[in-house]
């Protein structure tokens, strides 16, 4: 079976499991959508008083939010295992994936789907409608930006999870790191100084997650597009290398039987 067919089979199984409890699925996805709109309402209130903050308008924040929500939703639905890597590594719970022929990181990532991610996936297109973004070129850039955001979020979660190979416990670090990544991404880059902005591209990649995609949607530039592609590739490569390197230090938790395999 090709890797793509295997991935489709894994995602299909996750989706069927999620849909098994229809009411729970609808409640979790629906409430996540409401949750996202409530946060955006805060920005609506702020921009009703101050029309422009750090060079951004409400439209820019809505686009950043839409890209981040769609990217986060893609991570939650397609690579939901990324949120639990730190805990799994700490407990020695990745034995099953090491025994199989598929890449262990990919298996770990697609092992779960977070149902609330479907609410995030609805948020992005809804914001496109609300902001009346209907030009095909901008919609294509929105989709590309969301995919880039998904890869950045997933890679960053993998890098944080890999810390557990060295420290044993990294759950709280992973949570704090994710919160930081998302928090910075919703605020206009213009409010931060040069050094902070640099850190937000290379250490906590909020700039890659939202700032560059929004900048491309506002005014396309080949330089920004190349910067985004290069940055995303670098983070994906770093995550893959960190996982491979971390596996050398991995200690089994003898949980193979407990996983029912």
């Amino acid at each position: 079976m090709s890797t793509l067919r295997w991935l489709m089979a894994a995602w299909g199984a996750n989706l069927r499991a999620a849909l098994e409890y229809r009411a729970s699925f609808l409640v979790q996805a629906g409430f996540m959508l409401l949750n996202n709109l409530a946060i955006l309402a805060f920005w609506g209130v702020l921009f009703s008083r101050f029309q422009r903050i750090g060079g951004w308008t409400l439209l820019d924040v809505a686009l950043a939010y839409g890209i981040a929500a769609t990217g986060f939703g893609l991570t939650a639905v397609l690579f939901g295992g990324s949120f639990e890597l730190a805990g799994l590594v700490a407990r020695g719970g990745i034995d099953n994936w090491l025994l199989r022929s598929r890449p262990s990181l990919l298996q770990a990532l697609v092992s779960r789907t977070r149902i609330s991610g479907f609410g995030d996936l609805v948020t992005g297109p809804l914001l496109l409608v609300l902001t009346r973004t209907c030009e095909p070129r901008r919609i294509v850039l929105f989709v590309a930006g969301s995919i880039a955001a998904c890869l950045v979020i997933t890679s960053f979660l993998v890098l944080l999870g890999c810390v557990a190979f060295r420290t044993g416990q990294a759950d709280d670090l992973a949570l704090t790191g994710l919160n930081a990544l998302l928090s910075f991404g919703f605020y206009p880059p213009g409010i931060f100084g040069g050094a902070t902005r640099f850190l937000l591209y290379v250490v906590i990649p909020s700039g890659l997650m939202t700032w560059l995609p929004v900048s491309l949607m506002r005014e396309f530039s080949a330089r920004d597009a190349a910067g985004l592609a290069g940055g995303v590739t670098a983070f994906v490569a770093a995550a893959t290398l960190a996982w491979r390197h971390g596996l050398r230090r991995y200690e089994s938790g003898n949980l193979t039987a407990a996983a029912g395999e």
């Binding site: 729970s24 409640v27 979790q28 629906g30 409430f31 996540m32 409401l34 949750n35 409530a38 946060i39 309402a41 805060f42 209130v45 702020l46 009703s48 008083r49 101050f50 903050i53 750090g54 416990q169 709280d172 670090l173 949570l175 704090t176 919160n179 930081a180 928090s183 910075f184 605020y187 206009p188 213009g190 409010i191 931060f192 902070t196």
Partner: protein, 262 residues
Amino acid sequence: MRAGALAAAFAASARERLRHPIDPIGSGIFLALLLFIFAHVWSAIGAGARTAGWGVPQLVTYLLVTETVMLSTSAIHLRIASDVRSGQLGVELLRPVRYAHWELARALGVACVRVVALLAAGLVVVALLVGLPQVDARGAALGLLVMVPLAILVESTMRVLIGVLAFWFEDANAFFWIWQKGGLLLGGVLMPLGFYPDWLQALAAWTPFPLLYFEPARTVVAFDAAAAGAALARLLLWGVALQGLLLLVTRRACRSVALNGG
């Protein structure tokens, strides 16, 4: 005996957090990040923020107080829902104290450690970023020593109530998201309610959220004895009413539990 058991749960929970300080440290880092971001947001807005009657140091200190209330309160609803789903609830209900009060005491023990860590870390960050504002000592004492702990008690009680909904729905996360975002928006967690349009301020006034976040922070940053007194009285009323509601709801919830052995 019951009060003694609850006090022991409170103390054990606080001791556990002190022995494993990674949790309060993580919350402290997150608070520092938020303060950093908002110090930049308010500085970028600059003159516009000042015209609303608040300087940047006041606005950042305001955020420190509101976020301290929000981040000090633990995710009790998740633990209760987990107990329901795993069947651990059957064991928990055997204790000679009410389950909801037991969970509340444990959450308050965690909050006790977190609130000190958050305020200490937050004050240092505010001082470094924008400088501490001039505040009325009476307002700071009333806000930090009375209103913030009371707000945490009310918020924790509400989270236990939300968690108890899992007795019927198996999961209470969705209800919590709505409550949390209600607090974020209508409580004025990120910015003072004075920045809101009139209709939204009027709507917020009908909810308990401003009493949990806006009023304690305003009392610290811009003390007004009459407003603080009225807010404190209303906060106390909400506290008493929610304790009564907790008793009623948990009694009903416990009756609906069906244990299947195991």
